[in-house]
Subunit: 169 residues, 8 copies
Amino acid sequence: MANPLVALVMGSDSDLPTVREATNVLRTFGVPFEVRVLSAHRSPDELVAFIKKAEQQGVRVFIAAAGGAAHLGGVVAAHTTKPVIGIPIQTSSLNGLDSLLSMVQMPGGVPVATMAIGVGGARNAGLFAIEILALSDTSLAEKLHRQRAEQLEHVKQKDQKVQAEFAKQ
Amino acid sequence: MANPLVALVMGSDSDLPTVREATNVLRTFGVPFEVRVLSAHRSPDELVAFIKKAEQQGVRVFIAAAGGAAHLGGVVAAHTTKPVIGIPIQTSSLNGLDSLLSMVQMPGGVPVATMAIGVGGARNAGLFAIEILALSDTSLAEKLHRQRAEQLEHVKQKDQKVQAEFAKQ
Amino acid sequence: MANPLVALVMGSDSDLPTVREATNVLRTFGVPFEVRVLSAHRSPDELVAFIKKAEQQGVRVFIAAAGGAAHLGGVVAAHTTKPVIGIPIQTSSLNGLDSLLSMVQMPGGVPVATMAIGVGGARNAGLFAIEILALSDTSLAEKLHRQRAEQLEHVKQKDQKVQAEFAKQ
Amino acid sequence: MANPLVALVMGSDSDLPTVREATNVLRTFGVPFEVRVLSAHRSPDELVAFIKKAEQQGVRVFIAAAGGAAHLGGVVAAHTTKPVIGIPIQTSSLNGLDSLLSMVQMPGGVPVATMAIGVGGARNAGLFAIEILALSDTSLAEKLHRQRAEQLEHVKQKDQKVQAEFAKQ
Amino acid sequence: MANPLVALVMGSDSDLPTVREATNVLRTFGVPFEVRVLSAHRSPDELVAFIKKAEQQGVRVFIAAAGGAAHLGGVVAAHTTKPVIGIPIQTSSLNGLDSLLSMVQMPGGVPVATMAIGVGGARNAGLFAIEILALSDTSLAEKLHRQRAEQLEHVKQKDQKVQAEFAKQ
Amino acid sequence: MANPLVALVMGSDSDLPTVREATNVLRTFGVPFEVRVLSAHRSPDELVAFIKKAEQQGVRVFIAAAGGAAHLGGVVAAHTTKPVIGIPIQTSSLNGLDSLLSMVQMPGGVPVATMAIGVGGARNAGLFAIEILALSDTSLAEKLHRQRAEQLEHVKQKDQKVQAEFAKQ
Amino acid sequence: MANPLVALVMGSDSDLPTVREATNVLRTFGVPFEVRVLSAHRSPDELVAFIKKAEQQGVRVFIAAAGGAAHLGGVVAAHTTKPVIGIPIQTSSLNGLDSLLSMVQMPGGVPVATMAIGVGGARNAGLFAIEILALSDTSLAEKLHRQRAEQLEHVKQKDQKVQAEFAKQ
Amino acid sequence: MANPLVALVMGSDSDLPTVREATNVLRTFGVPFEVRVLSAHRSPDELVAFIKKAEQQGVRVFIAAAGGAAHLGGVVAAHTTKPVIGIPIQTSSLNGLDSLLSMVQMPGGVPVATMAIGVGGARNAGLFAIEILALSDTSLAEKLHRQRAEQLEHVKQKDQKVQAEFAKQ
């Protein structure tokens, strides 16, 4: 694989099923990425070391996924001025409202761009990273337009299927 | 002013005091921007026309501020593949929780990068736009490092002031 | 089928099981309707085109079902002055509180009449559309009275069954 | 005044400042209406008597405003098959979330069309009543189009003012 | 059975599994009761007729169970000055928070004594009814003391079992 | 004053303005009561001693007012089988939602009859205590009917005033 | 077993699966502890007697687990000046938000150190008790460092596994 | 001042009015402490350096106060095995619910002992630190008993004042 342009960090490997939605998007678009399990609380030095190294090696966008008291995005953002995108993981007790508020309510000065709770948010994290990269990569920009067109086509097909079902009745 | 690189759209001019936090950041960094009052509900055609025109004229990042059933970010994102940043406006009844959920809970396929509720979020929207632009503008990247350094200096001064206060006691 | 008087729009075909509660009501009352999958975010132009066409072809009431950042009702209402009824879809993360607030908290000027989250709300969306149409259709008004009477009869039967159960004890 | 087409009921005269937003809209559109203070809890018989009488005298739409355990809309809807629109009043303790949930979460069978919490919701309640009446009153329908056009004009003026402000800087 | 002293009303027979927790308590204490399915929205006249008849026939305490926009307790309380106890039913979308707020946030003047959401609340509704009746029935008062003593004994046994489990380790 | 029939306990004297709504009701009805500041956390032994003494001296109903982690009602209920009514005090941070949940969510076995947050709830706590006492005091029962009639009259006057205001326009 | 240094109290034996996370931690660290089922509402005198006895017999830290209106922590804290740690149990209706607010929102003067809802919180309650004990026990302090190191190692292994998975693709 | 035993860290000097409640408690008890403004996001390296240095210089307990996405407590806890106490600062938008959830919902392995939102929580943070230190300092333990006794006396005085007020009436 080429040098990663996107680094995806998750606080626990239990977040991987959600994060995979983001990596699937990046792979579909052919964007090189790396995936790491690094915890703001359990491996904080490794996390900081990684952020610095990743930035030096050309990572342009960070994606951080965490649940509960979800500090990962904020800690990443504290150590880089590259764009940081946050994925709040759905939790069993508070359904991810805790993850969402822990991520999105960042104080002025250090932004974390927060997506929706769970897999939809993870997919959008991947797409948003590509929207950023596409600003200086016309091939990616074209692929984004194609993805939107396919998405539109997909909705249209569903629309026709539903129309057909009700026409029969 | 040069061609705007960032377009800030708000749903109502009552959102301006919050949005100004974002424009102040952009001005400080010397990033050309434009500010518009365009409503997803009350001027929807003008909004769509603007998004398309803005994109053609070189806008690279959109910032959308709205409150309550805050659809503005989602509607902007539906019409562009440029990065869209959302500022949830604080509301009188539900304190902005409605604005936040209306923005951040976007379905997979059309991302809106959501910031904190209110002025802190607006400031971060400006900074995040700059983080994106800085990926292909080393001068902006340097300014970002300087802003972080100044921010650090500011915290250090506050820290010394507080230490001094308690040392005296 | 006759020209549809009610248009039901959903943001995703995954909302169909909920929406069907509304279509069942309309069918029971013999009100012609059409059902479409049109997304405020993924097929926005098709959505706007449909609203305008539907209104021209005689649709008198719109029903919009969406979940999460549920902008569909607001976007429909932005493009028509016909009554728009919203069904907030239950979501996996926030149970539909996000859908509810995204729909009901519309700013002054563009109303969306919001029903309860989920299937109960969908059934009521159908009934509310009929209540509107019944204002100028005495046959529908009579059917509404009959439905209320049947509903009352149904509760009375349940009441007798429960009374009988406890009388035996 | 002509026979009222819309009946506005509030649970307490302390709700009047909010309800006035709805009556202002109705007056602007020239729709005859009546306003009553009738409580689901403190004057329940008077409330039921009024609903029946109002319906007989030609009221076509009910608007109910209440706060806290806001049962008024549900009780009105239980006694009529005319459309009932609910305005959740903002409360001091829970900011109107209690009013909103008490209104919008109606069980299947008896719909209450719920608007936003507070004055924005009250204004929309008035507009939504007019949207219903306009289905069989072309003059009202035209006025609605004009109102939307004026609303659009108003947003455009605000937009120009904001553009002008930032152009100067 | 003797003349009922407690009347339990539920809005839907789907609430019966919860309500049964209350009837079990009443039966254990030998308090005569009746159970009815009466809806504030679907059988409002029957509900009011029942409240008045029940009061005449000697019912001293009402228990009302309802979910969602749970108006039943408030409507019962509007038609009687006997104590009304509310059981908020757990709901699928908002977990019973809607039921709770719809019941407990009654305006000053017409109280509904609200219990916890779901079966624990139903059990306590039964016990609270007995606490009220026991004020003028020493036999019931003694049974209440015995129930508390048995409850204490039950906790002590669980305590010993848990202590034993950990002693072995 | 005669021997108190109702004991009102509050966790802090800062709750007095709310509690006074309940004492005003009791005084109006001529029910003897006592008011104490006793904290489940700061004077727990005094609290328990008081509950036992109060019960021996003829107190028939307890009213407990507390805010935040509002344990007072539960602790009172743990030491008596007399009816305990809870008033959740409005708090500055979470507006009384914490007080409400801490009171109402009592486990099965030890009920606390919870009223609305704040002054409305306090007024209803007083009224509910009287509804209980009125079961064995016909004079109180009559006063309750009179209070309801006056309340009705009060709503009717407000209704006429509002009708008059709108008739003039 | 040696004299217990930590006393774990739970309001119901149904809380045991959660509490076991805490006892497992204490056992791993070799800290003697005792586990009791004592309810603030159903065995209040036994609870108070235990707290006093436990403190006399050398218990240095209390851990209290409870759900719903979770008063246990507050009642324990009212009777001891030893540190009290609270575990909010996840509940079926409100997911533990009720337990959390009932525990954490203690008034000034009587602290309860609250952990996360459910098993994660229980594990941390055990660890936090050890952090306190380790202040005067260097062997425990060393074990804590070792636990952190193992935890770090565990995260690193997960990290390598995830890296390997993505390297293969 | 002697070597600090407690280190209080806040994310912003705007948190000082809340934190002062904690320092007042520590000063009253004669516990040496230091107060720092160190941000998890704006001065992360300084924060980590301070934690390590403080621990070496004998700090035994950390108190962290932060608002919004309140990561400070978690970051401190990630770098020390000393007890960390969290004070969630009240925020303007979500009233501190965001701060609370960001602090209390820590994942298993790295505990943060969370207090109530705002000044009450700050006071308790100070007291809880003293409860910890008192385990190995009998003079502090005695002061704690005295503080509890004074607190009891204070409540008793308020109780007498309130009793006197109502006796007069």
